[in-house]
């Protein structure tokens, strides 16, 4: 039914090969400096290996990847810094278009085919549970719904035609050619070159085929989180490995700096974080099989823990590299930026932790009143 774990590793190796060949660090640095999408052939190459059909069933020409495969692939995406819009296209837009096509939406079917072929770009935004949302939905009388977007932060690929907005209770595809939608390009993102925009719309009509409510929406949100956690892990694991290599090579005071306990212990702390995240994701994948509601308590904890722990890993990597780590050219900041961006997208450390605590406090208060 889903891609077996070993096949997931094989796919991950294929994706790694594609991305390492098409997204060299020099190209990423250039795109970041100019705050534009990388102009290399990575997007077509990813489409060619089926990336945009990752979460689609085989009947839709997809790979039908399970949670474990998702984690393996997005760890690669993090390490290789796959642009954020691709994440949204594969896990948000493509499944929503497939659902629309199943409801006889011919435009959606055509868009999906183009998206999978790499000929149509999109993007979007996925809200994790209990975030303040800048989007709202009114069910219209009759067919479809009215959607308002109040400056929704979203990642869009170049010349994006479509965007999705997914929340734990509803998700929609928005046609960016709709006269009622305004896309405001945003400069100065912490993770530049990812096409960060704000979406504005007031009560635009979305046909029912392009609207998913309930379990389908929360599943999208859970998948997005699995992938985002794995992406963060990929960033951390990549920087940890790079830092270990550097510390073993670099000599000061006539010794390899990795032989100094102050450095070794910092690298050990970084390892604890990376290993713990790996274990946590294995557990989350298992629980996710029972559905989004069952997974939410652990997912909520991980929205605090994963970005916080891996952010510290990135900061350790920069520190151990010394002055070099602080330079533009060394590029450690690229992974750091991605982790910061994703941490912010999950509400930030304080909000994420507060929501976890509140969940347990509310539960205890209810228990007392029974």
């Amino acid at each position: 039914m889903t891609v077996a774990a070993d096949l997931g590793d094989e796919l991950a190796a294929v994706f790694d090969g594609v991305l390492s060949g098409t997204l060299p660090q020099a190209a990423l640095l250039e795109a970041a400096r100019e705050d534009r999408h990388p102009t290399t052939a990575y997007h077509q190459a990813m489409a060619d290996v089926g990336f945009f059909g990752l979460r689609l069933g085989t009947e839709d020409g997809g790979l039908d990847a399970g949670g474990g495969t998702l984690v393996s692939l997005f760890e690669v995406a993090g390490a290789r810094l796959l642009p954020s819009a691709s994440h949204e296209e594969a896990l948000g837009l493509a499944p929503l278009l497939a659902a629309a096509a199943r409801h006889g939406d011919h435009d959606a079917a055509s868009w999906l085919a183009q998206l999978q072929a790499g000929h149509l770009r999109g993007g979007g935004r996925t809200f994790t549970p209990r975030l303040d949302m800048s989007a709202s939905l009114r069910t219209a009388s009759g067919d479809g719904a009215l959607v308002s977007l109040d400056g929704v932060w979203a990642w869009l690929g170049p010349d994006a035609r479509l965007a999705h907005v997914a929340t734990p209770s509803w998700a929609v595809v928005v046609d960016l050619d709709d006269a009622g939608v305004r896309v405001e390009r945003h400069a100065g993102a912490v993770d530049p070159g990812q096409g960060l925009c704000r979406l504005h719309a007031r009560d635009i009509a979305v046909p029912s085929s392009r609207l998913v409510v309930g379990a389908g929406a929360s599943r999208l949100v859970l998948d997005w989180q699995l992938a985002a956690f794995a992406e963060i892990l990929g960033c951390g694991a990549h920087l940890l490995a790079a830092t270990v290599s550097y510390a073993v090579e670099r000599r000061q005071f006539g010794q390899r700096i990795a032989s100094f306990q102050a450095i070794a212990h910092r690298l050990a702390d970084m390892t604890v974080s990376v290993e713990a995240v790996r274990s946590a994701l294995a557990r989350l994948v298992t629980i996710a099989e029972s559905g989004p509601a069952a997974a939410e308590p652990l997912a909520a904890s991980l929205r605090y823990w994963v970005p916080s722990a891996i952010r510290t890993v990135c900061e350790g990597a920069i520190q151990v590299h010394g002055g070099l780590g602080f330079t533009w050219e060394a590029g450690l900041h690229l992974h750091y930026r991605r982790v910061l961006q994703l941490q912010a997208a999950m509400g930030g450390a304080f909000t994420a932790a507060t929501e976890v605590g509140r969940m347990y406090l509310d539960r205890a208060a209810e228990a007392s009143h029974v």
């Binding site: 760890e75 274990s279 823990w305 929501e355 976890v356 605590g357 228990a367």
Partner: protein
């Protein structure tokens, strides 16, 4: 790269239910505060659990176990965690030395020693640390010399938990002083009732005689009580420490989850739900969830034989952070109520200082990760 994790199926869910029902009917309540009485209550509790068929779930049937998987042990550990007495008094035997005997022991040793571990008929302790061999375990000086069909042990061990209750001591001694520090060590199974053994209780920070000094004055140990082979005790000791982590850490993490629930309840009862309180609780809960997930990976890795060398040091460090963060948070959030009225919060805060010290300090765990997982060069290289 995905790590393995424990899978709980229908059999485990059924077992959990069975244990939960049994515990609800038999939970003896909070153990006595006084140390000696508490120990006796814990012994009686393990005996009762054994009689009900819940101890040794993963051990082979021929040695008194039930031949189930480690997931079953995890179920027991977690269900026990909901009881008033979450700790199995003979856990060192059950989690560490039983599995080590199953790997390294002779048939005679297994038949003699395994069964009484299960019903707490014979408590085990472990003699590794010495006054001059703490973190530097390879510096062990307690020695054993061959004399006919016995080894004669002389020396001193320290920080031996539950020595006064123990029938057996898994004792690491030097049998060949001419070999390099890690070699020439042997692991002896020493009968604590042997002539020449003196146990001197040490009182820890809470004034409890939780551990002891143990003196060995020409103690004769039959040569048949060597575990593994003579001069290869280091391998046995390291394997034992690998076993120790999985279920032991799960037990601790389950207890911490229970204490977290207590803390949340106390705060909720006081109407404390502002952002600062919630956020501090959230941080603690996230640590606990990650710790539990980590132990599930470790247990699954133990089953598959895929555990990387040094990887359980990650578990120990996560346990340490979770424990110390939880009780620091409790003390910080409850204020006077923790310092005076107390539901054990200040004791737990003080006890949490031991977690970063026992079974290898945090600094040693980081050295292990640096050497074994990252292959970093030694100092001066």
């Amino acid at each position: 790269m995905m790590l393995p994790t424990l899978q709980f199926g229908d059999a485990e869910h059924a077992l959990a239910k069975q244990i939960r029902v049994w515990i609800e009917q038999h939970d003896p309540g909070e153990p006595p505060a006084e140390y000696a009485a508490r120990m006796q209550a814990l012994i009686a509790w393990q005996r009762q659990l054994h009689a009900a068929g819940f101890v040794g779930l993963s051990w082979p049937v021929e040695y008194g176990g039930r031949g189930l998987g480690l997931a079953a042990e995890a179920v027991l550990t977690e269900e026990l965690g909901r009881s008033s007495m979450p700790e199995l008094i003979n856990r060192l035997a059950l989690y560490t030395w039983g599995p080590t005997l199953l790997r390294f022991g002779t048939e005679a040793q297994r038949h003699r020693l395994l069964a009484p571990m299960l019903d707490a008929g014979e408590i085990w302790c472990q003699g590794f640390s010495e006054p001059d061999a703490g973190s530097d375990l390879a510096g062990i000086r307690t020695s054993a010399r061959r004399d006919g069909d016995a080894l004669v042990v002389s020396g001193q061990k320290v920080w031996t938990s539950r020595a006064e209750l123990s029938a057996w001591n898994a004792l690491l001694v030097r049998t060949d002083p001419d070999q390099p520090p890690h070699r020439g060590l042997s692991l002896l199974i020493v009968d604590m009732r042997s002539p020449g053994i003196t146990v001197g209780p040490l009182r820890q920070m809470l004034d409890e005689p939780h551990f002891s000094e143990v003196f060995f004055d020409d103690v004769r140990v039959p040569a048949t009580n060597v575990l593994g082979s003579v001069d290869h005790g280091w391998e046995v000791a390291m394997a034992a420490m690998g076993f120790e982590r999985g279920l032991f850490v799960l037990e601790r993490s389950t207890r911490l989850l229970r204490r977290f629930d207590h803390l949340v309840q106390e705060l909720a009862d006081r109407g404390r739900r502002d952002d600062q309180v919630a956020s501090r609780l959230g941080v603690v809960r996230a640590h606990l969830d990650v710790l539990q997930a980590r132990v599930y990976s470790t247990l699954a890795g133990q089953v598959q034989g895929t555990l990387r060398p040094g990887a359980t040091s990650v578990d120990k460090l996560l346990l340490t952070v979770a424990d110390q963060e939880l009780f620091a948070a409790a003390f910080d959030l409850l204020g006077d109520d923790a310092a005076s009225a107390d539901h054990g919060w200040s004791q737990d805060l003080m006890l949490s200082r031991s977690v970063s010290i026992y079974s290898g300090t945090s600094e040693i765990q980081k050295n292990v990760i640096a050497r074994q997982m990252l292959a970093l060069p030694r100092n001066g290289a």
